[in-house]
């Protein structure tokens, strides 16, 4: 199947569709209509159908979409076959929350290592994830074949860290530090900051 680069937002929704579909499958459903998916995710049915069109899938006319097929198809699009290995840098509250969150999730994404500089955290295992000293960053990334890094360190170190990560061969960074990172050639970057979200909510609440 020839697939042009999908729109950003469609990719985000595919991830959500899959999660929802998995839930429905677990409940014993085998087929689902676009408006059912839409209701579960609180978006419009048209948008669901449009996204499905973009990935080249087709439902059957009066039965809707085959849940299992669709889950698998989404898998071939957003997963890689071998799965993606992830590292968390900074084992504070936030880093731990992420590891806890990903623990025992059935996705192809797997947090396989954590890094810190605080001796209290190093060489300990938190929910199956081993924490290494930051000095070993490049070594472990190579050894385990880690592709994506989540930055959850204090803001000051985010930028130099991103440089090291790029050099070490990391292909994608998820930055939770409030310090925005400059895009680096060949490294996909995604950022999120709570204060920005909160101030946005506050603004629209005020109006």
């Amino acid at each position: 199947m020839i697939m042009n680069r999908l729109p950003d937002k469609t990719v985000e929704r595919l991830s959500q569709y899959r999660r929802t579909l998995n839930n429905q499958l677990a409940k014993g459903k085998t087929h689902i209509f676009s408006h059912e998916i839409a209701n579960l995710l609180h978006i419009t049915p048209v948008q669901v159908r449009r996204d499905i069109m973009l990935i080249g899938y087709s439902g059957t006319l009066r039965k809707g979409y085959d849940i299992k097929e669709m889950i698998e198809l989404i898998g071939t699009i957003i997963d890689t076959d071998q799965g993606v290995k992830i590292a968390v840098i900074g084992m504070g509250n936030l880093g731990k929350a992420f590891i806890h969150y990903m623990y025992e999730k059935q996705t192809k994404l797997k947090i396989v290592a954590a890094f810190d500089i605080n001796p209290d955290k190093i060489d300990k295992t938190y929910e199956d994830v081993y924490c290494y000293h930051l000095d070993r960053l490049e070594e472990i990334i190579k050894e385990l074949g880690i592709g994506i890094a989540i930055i959850a360190t204090p803001p000051e170190v985010a930028s130099p860290l991103a440089d090291r990560l790029k050099e070490a061969g990391i292909r994608g960074i998820l930055n939770y530090t409030p310090r925005p990172l400059s895009p680096r050639e060949g490294v996909y970057l995604e950022e999120h900051d709570m204060i920005t979200s909160l101030e946005k909510v506050a603004y629209f609440v005020k109006a």
Copy 2:
């Protein structure tokens, strides 16, 4: 100043501009050019100028923008005078990370209460934030005048919780649960899920 509803994305950036401007002010700068702001945030100068235009501010021609003035103006737009009070529901790793993050930040946004159902967490203070039993949710929201809630509980309880929050008079919800909430009349909703972000990164890394 008559101000139409600002675009979503502009509001997000205003929050970031202010943070950056505060940093620069602390370094002793008094004026700043659009391209300097742009570099610090890794966006384009045009976009900075356009946003500034939308809020009706003007810089001086060869000196750029007066940092102090601009910080104040952004304040009048996204802050409310009395500040906004915030509650965190769910004092797990994530809830604690948020409280820690907001602690001692100089913004008008203030986390003033936490709620949980686990006796180990209740009636304790974490970084100046007191944790109440969920039973007292409505009472405390009214008493303290809380306007925004951050949901960091297990996913199952998110939806009923949102109903209670609405009834209690909450105007904005920031949902960090992977369960999408349906919009509720009169309550501004913002959501973020790490797995979606990760899968998005994974997709674009793969391509």
